[in-house]
Amino acid sequence: MPSLLIQNGRVIDPSQSLDRVMNLLVLDGRIAALDAQPGGEQQIVDASGKIVCPGLIDMHVHLREPGREEDETIESGTAAALAGGFTTIACMPNTDPPVDSQGIVEFIRGQAARADNCHVLVVACVSKNREGKELAEIGQLVKAGAVAFSDDGSPIADPELMRRAFEYCLMFDKPVLNHCEVRELTGRAVMHEGQTSLVLGLSGMPASAEEVMASRDLTLAETTGGRYHLMHISTAGAVDMVRRAKRRQIRVTTEATPHHFTLTDECLRTFDPNCKMNPPLRGKDDVEAVIQGLADGTIDVIASDHAPHSKEKKMQELDQAPFGIVGLETTLGLVVTKLIEPGLLGWPKAIRKLTVNPARILGINKGTLQVGADADVTIIDPAVQWKVDPREFRSKSTNTPFAGWQLTGRADTVIVGGRIKFRRT
């Protein structure tokens, strides 16, 4: 593999508090030197005016394979990840069959290796068949390569199971990721409970449905010492709970999705199924609280919750349409346009939430440009203006509420293990 010199970029690496213009040398798939000078046989990548950072990590992605290949495959999902600037993604276990056995973990890793796009980490089920009854064979799943545990798609409703999951995962130092929703409180609801749901006559999911379970989980994390990651946080109350829990040294981390810091429940006024997700788009106060949580460090991670659904399934009556939107190819642009440009979050803080923070939560040696680290590098054009056109997505699905949005900032070049895997033409 020839050496690669990334020249004159603004290198931002929060893992080593780095933020200045320099050259970066990549050799044999690893970061070989910072401040390197050109010389010898090198491929030069000009990064003038661009941002060079550790390869972005999205720790909340649904790849749909096995089981729902009409929505996404591991190949198409990882291609979408590259186009979005991600070199590593973690995929959720709500496939069919679910990821509750070594065989499925190995199948996903095999498919990812064959696709040869970006790294794929596997999040496996907490419970057998994702039924929320008995623990899955977590030790065997760790052996097969699972990095974290979740029943995502379903909340872990039984507090006893949640407690055992925290305790059992401690042995392997793995986090438990939960989707917080008390289903008895959300019923058949399709959107956030608030003024908009009242006007539209749609039954609503109250913020308390998220907060009651978050509160339970935080208590159990505290008493067990377990590692808790609250997925896609969406309410002001939940953000506040996590903030207070962190002050008390509870081992909790959390993530926010771009749609929860950019859109409110008002979007449902068009009845567009692309505005139906779970957790739902919340009220204005909740969006402000999520942004505040991102700014003050309460929220550690930005993750897409990329949830592809084919058009024929998604474009139905609101109660029939499935929850979720695609996000891999719009996340970075939304972070730049809605957080960085308005001055709500600086570049280093934003990059931190997309690199070293998810890497630490997942316990992987990535998200850094330290000499010797895997050469996963994302080069971002921070100023390019572009329009979201779902027809250009690499993802198999186009279910996005951001179609037609004018965004700033996009991945320009993506390097995985020292090889240029994506280059915007």
Binding site: R188, Q195, G201, L202, S203, F271, E317, L318, D319, Q320
Partner: protein
């Protein structure tokens, strides 16, 4: 006004809509325009001119995914009285049971040469989904708990006939506000025309958030009775309730049923409406429902006139003599 045929040569200026989806999106002027048109049609009907062949060759389909007898019959009659053809489509006997999607079903029906789809559906927004996907006119005949614009219009028409105005009246909607599309259409229509609206019912079915939208709310029927001009008694929508919001029908009737005793506490000229189908003894007792204050059957008559007006405005010629 003389409802001779020349009154109906072209759709009045000021009406430019292709669909009737909600009252929330209409202006006060548009609502008044429909009501005035409906009054003309009613006059014609009263004069036994039951056929006004204003929409010859037009075809409407009633696409009902929820049960209904009254609304469907009312729409069909309205269309026929205007000389249009109507076709009924029932979800239970259709390809929907074979897995066809809602939009595909509607597109297939439209392709048979339909000018208007009159749709009833359990899901809020279903008519909007059709309007976005079809070229023909879409009339909302009730979408979940969202809106039922022609029901709202016929209620308002009945009030306007009996009271001579809407502006300045205090009108209470009583019952299952949370699940009532009739409540929402009434609220927007009445507010736009200048009425004071109160929503009243059990606290599990009446959100305090209504106050944010300029609607007064109350949990006590007895407390508001002395100051209301009109009561609209809504049906309990058992079929839309995910969990039972009150302990028993008996307790509900005790708190909210309009009976003779409660009638004594009202203004002497109180007007009582019910969109039906009524549960006698739950929302209203028979003596009140059939008494002199009740306009329940008039509402049904006005329903046909309002629906004729809606169809005429959506399908009639924009210029004289240019129906096609």
């Amino acid at each position: 006004m003389n409802p001779e045929k020349h009154d109906f040569e072209a759709v009045p200026l000021g009406w430019n809509r292709r669909h009737l989806l909600s009252l929330e999106e209409l202006s006060a002027e548009e609502i008044t325009l429909i009501l005035d048109q409906a009054a003309l049609f009613k006059q014609a009907l009263v004069q036994r001119r039951t056929r006004l062949p204003l929409l010859p060759g037009k075809t409407c389909v009633t696409l009902f995914f929820e049960n209904s007898t009254r609304t469907r019959t009312s729409f069909s009659l309205a269309a026929r009285r205007l000389g249009a053809d109507t076709v009924d489509f029932s979800a239970a006997t259709s390809s929907l049971s074979k897995g066809e999607t809602f939009i595909d079903t509607a597109k297939n029906i439209e392709a048979m040469g339909i000018d208007a789809v009159i749709v009833r559906h359990r899901t809020p927004g279903a008519p909007q989904l059709l309007a976005a996907n079809l070229r023909c006119s879409v009339l909302n005949a009730g979408d979940g708990a969202h809106e039922h614009p022609t029901q709202g219009l016929l209620d308002i028409m009945t009030i306007r006939e009996r009271k001579g105005k809407i502006e300045g009246l205090t009108i209470a909607l009583v019952g299952d506000i949370a699940h009532s599309r009739t409540a929402r259409s009434n609220i927007w229509g009445l507010k736009k025309l200048g009425a004071q609206v109160i929503v009243c019912g059990p606290s599990t079915l009446v959100s305090p958030r209504w106050a944010e939208l300029g609607v007064e709310y109350s949990y006590s029927l007895d407390a508001i009775l002395p100051r209301v001009d009109v009561l609209n008694l809504l049906r309990i929508q058992f079929e839309r309730q995910y969990t039972r919001p009150f302990p028993s029908v008996r307790e509900y009737a005790h708190l909210y049923a309009m009976d003779r005793k409660r009638l004594e506490k009202t203004k002497p000229d109180i007007l009582i409406l019910a969109p039906g189908p009524i549960n006698r003894g739950v929302e209203v007792t028979p003596d009140v429902a059939d008494g002199p204050h009740s306009a329940i059957l008039e509402q049904v008559t006005n329903g046909v006139a309002v629906r004729m007006a809606a169809l005429w405005l959506l399908l009639g010629p924009k210029e004289k003599g240019k129906l096609f």
